[in-house]
């Protein structure tokens, strides 16, 4: 029952902080925490090593500034670089992105496994295992539909709009207990309703004798005779960024990497792995909003931040629709314009409803090391994806108008700030240049993808890294395609499945 937080660097050349466990798991998000608790339930001694600090709900910030400072990886400055610069949003604290996301649980669609089988030679039988585990997770973490009292107008409006247009739509299932629609999912749920990893599996891991090492970015995996035997790094103070003591965490049986799609491949590269697919096959669901302006106040800050979704167009043309309330302090940077004009626009905040499309993009990118060793994603949507992307936005605009919005705000360069229903053709003809859009990448996949062929993949379908004993991947970096649905449920199920197989093999 140990938690080792930041350890200062001693002036007298004190020895490193040294720990030992059966398994070392790097990263404590959906994949890492699930893997760690699964191994611990199987009787193994586990050390969970996380780059960020451990924040409890009473430590959570309220403002978006505080959220970027305390919860986002690198202050939210990680970007996908291609034709456009689009931010990549990831959590960097104990619990990872599960602290800042909307805890959405969506069962992995069957076609995903068929695709993995077809393209990567993996996935045969994986579907049944994943679905069985997803049923377990649904029970354990209470994945339930957003309750009526917690929906808020912006989610209810979306449901009615989808019904009017004959589009499948549903209130989301989320890992929550007693959600009261406080509307601060992005900033972490201060009311402790969201079942993020830092308040569920990680406390359980400690109760089962596991060790949590926080403020501890891992720099390298160490190998002996072709086997992963330890991880090493230097503590980092989360407020001042001061470097602390060095640490080594030894693994008697194995090391699991779950440091995120951007960090896992870079960690393995820094550790000397030469697999050609390392950092390759990056994919994402780029998302962008259309804001509807209504005569009556919508108050999107009240109710679940995300409470409604549609998978109607997931397969063809390939996008997901969902609600996403943006806090005022984030929206101020998102609306078009500047000066007094921007202030006039912001004064209508209570009348805004923000709905987004998340594109199931087929474009592929790569993760490389940028300045200061930070991850940089090289990624550009091709024309087919941009057409899909735009089509999704048009549909969101149609939903707003069906629900009675007096105007929509596309936020697209080259398109007027505000469009009425009659002006919708302007959105349909919006530019296909990614630089015209302010999009965000929030669902990330790849970088250490699984597959049979070591020339085209990093690990096999058990998560075992090709050619290295005792080294496994346990996060979304192993996922070789996009899913077209929110990934947390899939990541957790895969991580548990792989961990159970590791235990069986041991």
């Amino acid at each position: 029952m140990t938690h080792v937080a930041f350890q200062p660097r001693a002036s007298d050349k004190a020895p490193k902080v040294e720990l030992e466990a059966d398994y070392v798991v790097v990263g404590s998000g959906a994949g890492g925490a699930t893997a760690a608790v699964t191994l611990a339930r199987g009787g193994a001694k586990v050390a969970l090593v996380e780059a960020g600090p451990w924040r409890d709900p009473e430590d959570y910030p309220s403002s978006m500034y505080g959220t970027m400072r305390d919860m986002f990886d690198d202050f939210g400055a990680t970007v996908a670089q291609g034709r456009a610069f689009w931010p990549v949003v990831q959590g960097a604290l104990v619990g990872g992105s599960t602290v800042i996301n909307s805890a959405i649980a969506v069962r992995t669609p069957a076609d995903v496994f068929e695709r993995w089988q077809r393209e990567q030679g993996v996935g045969g039988g994986l579907g049944e295992a994943v679905w069985r585990i997803q049923d377990e997770l649904t029970r354990e973490l209470n994945a339930v539909e957003v309750p009526a009292h917690a929906r808020g107008k912006h989610n209810d409006f979306a449901m009615v709009a989808s019904q009017k247009l004959g589009i499948e739509g549903h209130y989301m299932h989320r890992y929550v207990r007693g959600c009261d629609g406080h509307g601060q999912c992005l900033q972490g749920c201060k009311r402790n309703k969201k079942q993020s990893m830092n308040v569920t599996f990680i406390p359980e891991l400690r109760e089962r004798g596991g060790t949590v090492v926080s403020c501890a970015p891992v720099e390298r995996v160490l190998f002996e005779q072709g086997r992963a035997v330890a991880v090493t790094g230097t503590f980092r103070e989360p407020v001042t960024y001061a470097r602390g003591a060095d640490f080594v965490v030894r693994a008697r049986r194995g090391v699991l990497i779950a440091a995120s799609v951007t960090h896992s491949p870079l960690l393995l590269k820094r550790s000397g792995l030469k697999l050609p697919a390392l950092g390759e096959h990056f994919r994402a669901h780029p998302g962008a909003p259309i804001i509807g302006v209504y005569d009556e106040p919508v108050d999107m800050n009240q109710g679940a931040t995300q409470g409604w979704a549609s998978l109607h167009y997931r397969e063809k043309p390939g996008f997901k629709l969902e609600t996403l309330s943006l806090p005022l302090d984030m929206l101020a940077g998102r609306l078009a314009g500047g000066g007094t004009l921007l202030m006039q626009r912001l004064s209508e905040y209570r009348h805004f409803a923000c709905w987004v499309q998340a594109c199931r993009a087929e474009s592929v990118g790569r993760v490389v090391a940028g300045p200061f060793g930070k991850p940089v994603v090289k990624y550009t949507l091709d024309r087919a994806d941009m057409e899909r992307f735009r089509e999704g936005l048009v549909l969101v605009a149609r939903m707003h108008f069906a629900q009675g919005a007096r105007a929509v705000l596309p936020g697209i360069f080259g398109v007027p700030y505000s469009l009425t229903r009659d002006e919708l053709p302007l959105l349909e003809r919006a530019p296909l240049d990614p630089r015209a859009y302010v999009a965000v990448l929030s669902h990330l996949f790849g970088g250490c993808v699984m597959g049979k062929d070591p020339a085209r993949s990093v690990c096999d379908e058990r998560g075992q890294v090709h050619g290295v004993r005792g080294l496994y991947i346990a996060d979304a970096s192993a996922i070789p395609s996009n899913l077209g649905v929110n990934p947390q449920h899939t990541i957790m199920a895969l991580a548990r499945h792989w961990s159970q197989q590791i235990l069986s093999a041991a």
Binding site: H3, A5, P61, M64, S214, L331, A332, T340, M343
Partner: protein, 118 residues
């Protein structure tokens, strides 16, 4: 983000102290981007209002026009650089209790900035 009849402007929301805090607390990449964006904003009135002066010495009406037009420039890198300035201004402005009250929003609790040390 100047003051309007309805709303305080960013200058009324403690932006100087906010910037000091941001310099201390943000990552290197973000801060460098913000400084670059501020320079770009300051030096581009020649492109928008055709006056060869930095933005901070322009009269208010011209500065306002510059703020609107610079976000509509065709040069993507300039738009992106200034976007970061506006995002930062929005983070400062949108958390201010007076702004939030005027818009019918509850005040934010303080950001404790704390974490488990044991």
């Amino acid at each position: 983000m100047p003051a309007s009849e309805q709303l305080p402007g960013v200058a009324d929301t403690g932006v100087t102290e906010f910037l000091r805090q941001m310099k201390r607390e943000s990552g290197r990449t973000y801060w460098l981007g913000l400084v670059l964006g501020a320079w770009v904003y300051a030096l581009t009135p020649i492109m928008t209002v055709f006056v060869p002066l930095p933005a901070f010495v322009l009269p208010a009406s011209l500065r306002d026009r510059h703020a609107q037009r610079i976000m509509q420039t065709r040069v993507y890198l300039i738009r992106q650089a200034v976007f970061l300035v506006r995002l930062s201004a929005g983070l400062c402005w949108g958390r201010d209790p007076r702004v939030r009250e005027r818009l019918g929003l509850g005040a934010y609790a303080a950001d404790p900035g704390t974490y488990r040390t044991t």
